[in-house]
Symmetry: C2
């Protein structure tokens, strides 16, 4: 029997900090199903979360499933920008068994069940958040017709850079936004082609280049594993290298992907990442990367330092998921914000030192 | 019944110009199975082909299949750099039905049957080629353990830039080489993460940026379709945009990908591309892209201008394939070099004007 790693992860007693019920839907007759997988930043004296808000039209006919899709040519984000696809729940050609998606008979994902945008929530204490009434960043254009998801925020110089999944029928690509204040956002374009996600930018240049960890999902040959790339300007990326892979069996044997922005320590970049097994149970692990060559793995946790255990982590929309997209580090203590069960947002704190002990 | 497009494609009477028998294997006890999918360039007064040479150890035991794989840590390309994997042809867990690959029971590609490198062939008349005795560019490093494939060559200023598929168990990524003389080559790194291939660079900057057409193969959501991206330096790429998709049915309904370097014309960039149907029949079509915004499609051929018809195109290692990676254009006449049946190299000439007529 495996010994469970001993690290003192303290979940906030206020968890989940944010639930879908706390978020006002974009339109009166819509419902929010998820407020989760938030990027995190310190902005002034506030902790800012950039939530992924997943919503859909309120479902009124038990025999139907209605799916929202942005029109590719929409010029804004109003009810008229969205096309509502009505599906028959009993259609034998459709598979609704995964609550996140609609599949066809061939197992291909043909719709998502919700449309996601990004929404700012602000807090002074890091636990009690005020959530904006309106979306902060909305999907736009042909590469985001199925929504924008899972932001990660890195402060570089005086800007916050936000990577996110741009989802459409063309695939899951990676978009980049920048902001100085989380009130106005600038679109910096699509930085990685599909299929790719879980992109975190390093907070400083290394050897004169910006760097990222990304997670392609190769088709045919290869697995959903972590790669590293570099850029002169944050917009254009190259020198892709394989960083680290899934394990043969266990918690991170199906896929892995970067979670939080790499934390600079004397011993290397500490990257908190997620791993999932074939049963889609998502846990958090850590890897230490060389300070001057982050493409080199120094050490990695054999077991997760955090797994879905709390009631709100083991139940919910897509149960059994802890999925962090950001953290705040102060005096060696990490406050990690994480999505639970593709539904809500929670936080947990732990000592960096304890994660290091697991690496050794 | 569909009317076959009337364009005067003249196949060389010397076709196939190069066959595997013309190519000396890298090692004495190896055999060459393919000399195909060549990039093309004019260098001095020579036409240079950069052939994909696919080879393997000579198969001596009918009950076995031996598969060559480069060691990830090999420092060169000698027989000791290559690991020979011996497989039992009757292993019920293995599927050898596609001659290009070995699959497992789950339909996953676990090996390629050959290891490819790039080899220069030179000609004065464009039809009679002298093929180098030795490999010109060999696979190297962990991202090329299964070989390097399908080069495309674009001359930009005084350098030839070569994009190619870098294949390994980590996936199919895109590498970049540069050369001035096709004798020494410089590695410029991996420019696109897996799964991606069929990359052609435009021959000049457009609006101050280098540009490429690429072909991601998305996993889960999306199809193998053509995208466009831009770069300040040819090494780092961004602003990925969807360019054009497969058709609902017909010759290009399974996948499409760029073939030859875009040809500048007064009416736009003419891109010769391949399309395949679900039966893996590969044909060549054309698309006209806006001169100043190549992300905009002006017109596209509804039917291919060239299909596998000659005997050497409809038989062979992987029959039913015409797949061009390069062309020479002179006075409105195109000489297109193309791989046939994943085995040999052929050429065909036609008037640009005739392709334009198909677009209209």
């Amino acid at each position: 029997m495996r010994v469970k790693p001993q690290i003192g992860v303290r979940r906030s007693p206020l968890n989940p900090l944010i639930t879908p019920a706390d978020v006002k839907p974009s339109f009166p007759d819509w419902e929010v199903l998820g407020a989760f997988n938030a990027g995190v930043a310190e902005c002034g004296d506030e902790i800012v979360l950039l939530l992924r808000v997943a919503e859909r039209p309120r479902q009124t006919d038990p025999g139907k499933v209605t799916v929202p899709v942005l029109r590719a040519d929409a010029s804004g984000f109003g009810e008229s920008s969205v096309c509502i696809v009505e599906l028959d729940r009993n259609d034998p050609d459709l598979d609704f068994s995964d609550r996140r998606v609609v599949k066809n008979r061939r197992g291909e994902t043909i719709w998502l069940t919700t449309l996601s945008h990004l929404r700012v929530a602000r807090s002074r204490d890091g636990e009690r958040f005020t959530i904006d009434e309106q979306p902060s960043v909305v999907p736009a254009g042909p590469l985001e017709t199925w929504g924008i998801e899972d932001p990660r925020i890195t402060k570089i110089d005086d800007r916050f850079l936000v990577t996110y999944s741009a989802v459409s029928e063309k695939g899951v690509a990676v978009g980049l936004l920048s902001t100085r204040d989380f009130r106005s956002f600038t679109r910096e374009g699509t930085i990685l082609a599909p299929t790719n996600k879980d992109v975190v930018l390093f907070p400083e240049k290394i050897n004169g280049k910006y760097m990222m960890v990304h997670r392609p999902v190769p088709e045919g040959i290869g697995k959903p594993e972590m790669w590293i790339a570099e850029s002169p300007d944050l917009i254009h990326w190259g020198n892709h290298r394989f960083l680290m892979g899934i394990s043969e069996s266990g918690w991170d044997s199906a896929r892995i992907g970067a979670g939080c922005v790499p934390i600079r320590t004397d011993e290397g970049w500490l990257l908190l990442y997620h791993g999932a097994d074939s049963g889609h149970r998502y846990c958090m692990g850590a890897v230490l990367l060389d300070l001057n060559d982050p493409g080199r793995v120094i050490a990695r946790t054999a077991e997760p330092f955090m797994s879905p255990e709390a009631e709100y982590e083991t139940t919910g929309f897509f149960a059994g998921v802890v999925f962090a997209c950001g953290a705040i580090v102060k005096d060696g203590r990490v406050t990690m914000y994480y999505g639970v069960s593709d539904e809500s947002t929670a936080s947990a704190t732990f000592q960096l030192e304890e994660v290091f002990n697991l690496l050794k």
